[in-house]
């Protein structure tokens, strides 16, 4: 993952008379064209994007299609472990994976604030290029708008993704069944803490990088081997706790977590203690909760652990018919407590 503030020296920003974005770049005229032709097409171009239509005409697919959309308003736009471009691409890819789909096509809408440095826009486009190449998806259509200075926070991005549902998969929170186990592919709370440490005013060096990552390569192998997966969800805002609560409410089952099994990086733990946060409620951007029958857990775990993004995969809990609709946890000292749905936004503009 590229650290914030650096771009590969072999991709210098194209020369332009503008060092900053101006309103005309969003006007639809000559400057918009220049922006697209000089900055976007050279990096993201493909047979669909180059065709110059207002939209992309895609080849027919067999089977069901999945579609998802997400907007990204993260502040700051560059942070340890990535930037808003990474989030925008990986976030939508992962949402498609949560539907049991192979991600294929992405649309990219940019809302730029007048005055945004072209250097910054360039870095973000390079990130999107890298992320889409890693995930094996194509940006097939997009849009660029510019708003006046002060009316938008540097850059907002919306991505919509389309993917092809893997036949045989029936993913839905309602399929969560007592006896299932809950898996996760790695440590929790990394992204939220990375964002917080990048924000001014808290003086925190947590040494934690955002975990933003596309998980489709790993999950694709899982899907090939096991179709009996009941629930998939990426625990972004609200963290693992928020996501599992939603699943319990939708399925009417209960979930029991084991605090001793929760993977938390030292830097995250320290930062959370300092700031009074609970890692269970902190956002993640490269994690997937996988709920499936216990019988297949070992096999799926070993597939996930074969991939770098799943090296720390483990079982963190099980689904039960006790306490329907509620998440509980065996604490590190052996007692049991409720993991409630948190109200309100603990940390604003995390993704």
């Amino acid at each position: 993952m590229n650290d914030s503030g650096e771009f590969a020296p072999q991709c210098p920003i194209p020369r332009s008379e503008y060092e900053h974005v101006v309103l005309a770049h969003g006007g639809g005229g000559r400057l918009t064209r220049q922006l697209v032709e000089k900055m976007i097409l050279p990096r993201l171009g493909n047979e669909f994007l180059d065709r110059d239509h207002d939209g992309a005409v895609l080849p027919p697919q067999e089977g069901e299609m999945a579609m998802t959309t997400d907007s990204f308003v993260v502040d700051p736009i560059f942070f340890p472990g990535g930037d808003i471009g990474d989030l925008a691409l990986n976030g939508t890819v992962n949402d498609l994976v949560s539907c049991g789909a192979e991600p294929m096509y992405i649309s990219l809408s940019l809302i730029l604030e007048e005055g945004l440095a072209m250097e910054d826009l360039w870095k973000i486009i390079l990130s999107i290029e890298r992320a889409s190449s890693t995930a094996g998806v194509m940006v097939v259509t997009g849009d660029t708008k510019v708003v006046e200075r002060g009316k938008g926070d540097r850059i907002f991005i919306n991505t919509t993704g389309i993917g092809s549902v893997v036949p045989g998969l029936r993913i839905s929170p309602r399929h969560c069944t007592p006896g299932d186990v809950v898996l996760i592919n790695g440590s929790i709370g990394d992204h939220g803490i990375a964002i917080l440490s990048a924000r001014d005013g808290l003086g925190l060096e947590a040494g934690v990088k955002s975990d933003t990552l596309a998980l489709n390569r790993m999950m694709s192998v899982v899907f090939r081997h096991r179709k009996e997966i009941h629930v998939l969800r990426d625990p972004t805002r609200g963290g693992v706790a928020g996501t599992l609560n939603e699943i319990c409410l939708a399925s009417g089952t209960g979930i029991l977590l084991d605090e001793n099994e929760l993977p938390v990086k030292d830097g995250v733990r320290g930062a959370c203690e300092l700031l009074g946060l609970d890692p269970l409620y902190v956002a993640n951007e490269g994690k997937m909760l996988v709920i499936l029958p216990e019988a297949h857990a070992e096999e799926v775990l070993s597939i996930m652990r074969d991939h770098e993004e799943g090296m720390e995969s483990r079982i963190i809990g099980r689904v039960t018919e006790d306490h329907p609709g509620m998440v509980r946890m065996h604490t590190a000292i052996g007692t049991t407590r409720i993991i409630d749905m948190i109200s309100g936004e603990q940390l604003p503009r995390i993704c």
Partner: protein, 64 residues
């Protein structure tokens, strides 16, 4: 004002340590909102951690 970089787990922050003059590098301190209030006796702390471990062990054993 004497300041020091203090590690909380793996997170690091600058803390004012002028009220704990006896603390040196490697010592454990108790800090609150950016100020160190007391040096923590390491032996005592180790004793507590051991007590916690034992408590967890006893509990898990009695649960199984």
């Amino acid at each position: 004002m004497r300041m020091a970089r203090v590690r909380f787990g793996e997170a690091v922050r600058e803390i004012c340590i002028q009220w704990v003059p006896e603390a040196g590098i490697g010592d454990y301190i108790l800090a609150h909102v950016g100020t160190a209030l007391s040096k923590v006796d390491e032996e005592d702390a180790a004793f507590m951690l051991e007590a916690l471990r034992e408590m967890v062990l006893n509990r898990t054993q009695s649960n199984s």
